[in-house]
Subunit: 305 residues, 2 copies
């Protein structure tokens, strides 16, 4: 099937940040710390651990500093934090985050409705954050939301995504996420966007962030692997949801992704069985159904053995 | 990405039979009839409508004759019935089914545990069913269960599947389903099995029947499309479950499959929006959560408009 798939994939665990952020139930600082530490124990080497965003916007993430302080920091693990502005960056620096994440939408309508400014203005606001992050020697990652469609304007062009890739590249970003915020992309569209983005930025530093809202996430990841993408985001237990479609599915589950990659013989360094246990535990902690299908199936199999 | 995908795909709707069969709640004959008729109204041209199996085995399917009699039969639509033995075949003939379905496992352990006989014995029992079905001018389809793994013996070899393909071919089957009964396959494995099966039987008469138990179904369908498979089974609202993993997901949802195929520009003749409404309706009838992620997302979108 065309080119060979990557031999190794980096799985960026986003459950403790992107996942929890979209959950209505508040999760205690203690549980967040345990979640991060257990995931790292399972072999996760890149993890979104906190968001330094105003607690007025996202109360769930108000304890970012306490989470970062409480984690058992391990060498070789990259702990990332979302930093929407200079104040957030200062928080991330004080917390000794290894990587900070800035963001922007490939949709003008989304930018206006989500952060009350144009895409161009959002990039201007992020410029000093990017400069200071680089000056501090932090890894700088950017996330392009709505790369495949927007809840307000509908379709998003490949060109709009490529334009954002160029802008974030010019801000000095080390890695850029192509994010399907509302999960509307399908496999050929994904391949087109990844290939177009890779003409502007190194393919091995482009990450795929797929939501499973329309059930397409894993199929899209297969398509992205086939065009050489090798960094993917996922969320343990499928933590998270879709604020634009109540009750719908959010991030692709780490368990489902690892099951796929294990089946393809692609190395991740992460132990699926350990992640299955963590997904079961955190789902119970939150009183929610386990959103990982492989997780559920493997738990049922354990129970029957 | 390698060869072109098929321009047109046949979607075989299995919700009213394979789906309902795995649901614990009994569905009234009236609802089953309405389900079949509404699906055909949405453009479905191939549908599993009944199973002529002993009601002692599967009480849910006891009203097969009444369902077949009550359906508003449309020209150009193939109504299929599962026929585990001669008695079942007689029922299917009396009900004027267009297609009958026989089955066998690619796993010896599954055959023994599921139908109390060896694979060879099960094929012997099906031989007269196949002969009579052909003599009556019915379409004859065979389903190979456990084509990717077995709940009892674990791994299933590609050779075991190919052997079953040959045996069903030799029984005169018009179409053969490669079924991932417990949803354990991943994309390269699927491509290997489909390519091997296609060396023994025409590829355009091999069908993919994928369960989403480990979240892999749609990714596997993408892989199968890439090696030229063009007939796929799915279940409206993701009806069905997995008897080998309680609480886990069963058949891939028709809505998720159609969303994928629409996104790839592959024709099916089926109206996704109409199927979304049917999936929502039948889920409500059964008091169950809608198992179609695209169905849920599109219903949420309707509600917000």
């Amino acid at each position: 099937m065309g080119r060979d798939l990557p031999k190794r994939v980096q799985v960026v665990e986003v459950g403790p940040r992107d996942g929890l952020q979209a959950e209505s139930k508040f999760v205690s600082t203690e549980t967040k710390i345990e979640l991060v530490d257990r995931l790292v124990g399972a072999g996760v080497r890149r993890i979104e651990a906190a968001s330094f965003v105003s607690p007025k916007w996202i109360p769930q993430m108000a304890d970012g500093a306490a989470v970062m302080a409480g984690i058992d920091r391990r060498a070789g693990v990259t702990y990332a934090a979302l930093t929407p502005n200079m104040k957030g960056l200062e928080g991330a620096i004080a917390s000794k985050a290894d990587e900070v994440v800035i963001f922007g939408a490939a949709s003008e309508a989304f930018s206006q409705r989500n952060i009350n400014c144009s895409v161009a203005e959002s990039l201007e606001r992020f410029a000093p954050v990017a400069r200071m992050a680089k000056a501090e020697g932090l890894q700088l990652r950017a996330s392009i939301s709505c790369s495949f469609g927007c809840p307000y304007q509908g379709p998003v062009s490949v060109d709009a995504v490529v334009d954002m890739v160029r802008r974030f590249r010019d801000l000095g970003c080390d890695e850029i996420d192509i994010a399907d915020t509302i999960g509307v992309g399908t496999v050929h569209h994904v391949q087109q966007v990844v290939e177009a983005a890779a003409r502007e930025f190194p393919l091995d530093r482009l990450a795929g962030h797929f939501h499973d809202t329309y059930g397409q996430a894993l199929a899209n990841i297969v398509g992205a692997l086939q065009v050489g993408m090798s960094v993917f985001h996922s969320s343990v237990g499928g933590l998270g949801g879709c604020p634009y479609a109540k009750g719908a599915t959010g991030n692709v589950a780490t368990e489902d992704l690892l099951y796929l990659l294990d089946g393809l013989g692609i190395e991740t360094g992460i132990d699926l069985d350990a992640v299955v246990s963590i997904g079961d535990w955190v789902s119970q902690q939150m009183g929610r159904d386990n959103g990982a299908r492989a997780g559920k199936a493997l738990m049922a199999k354990r129970a029957s053995n």
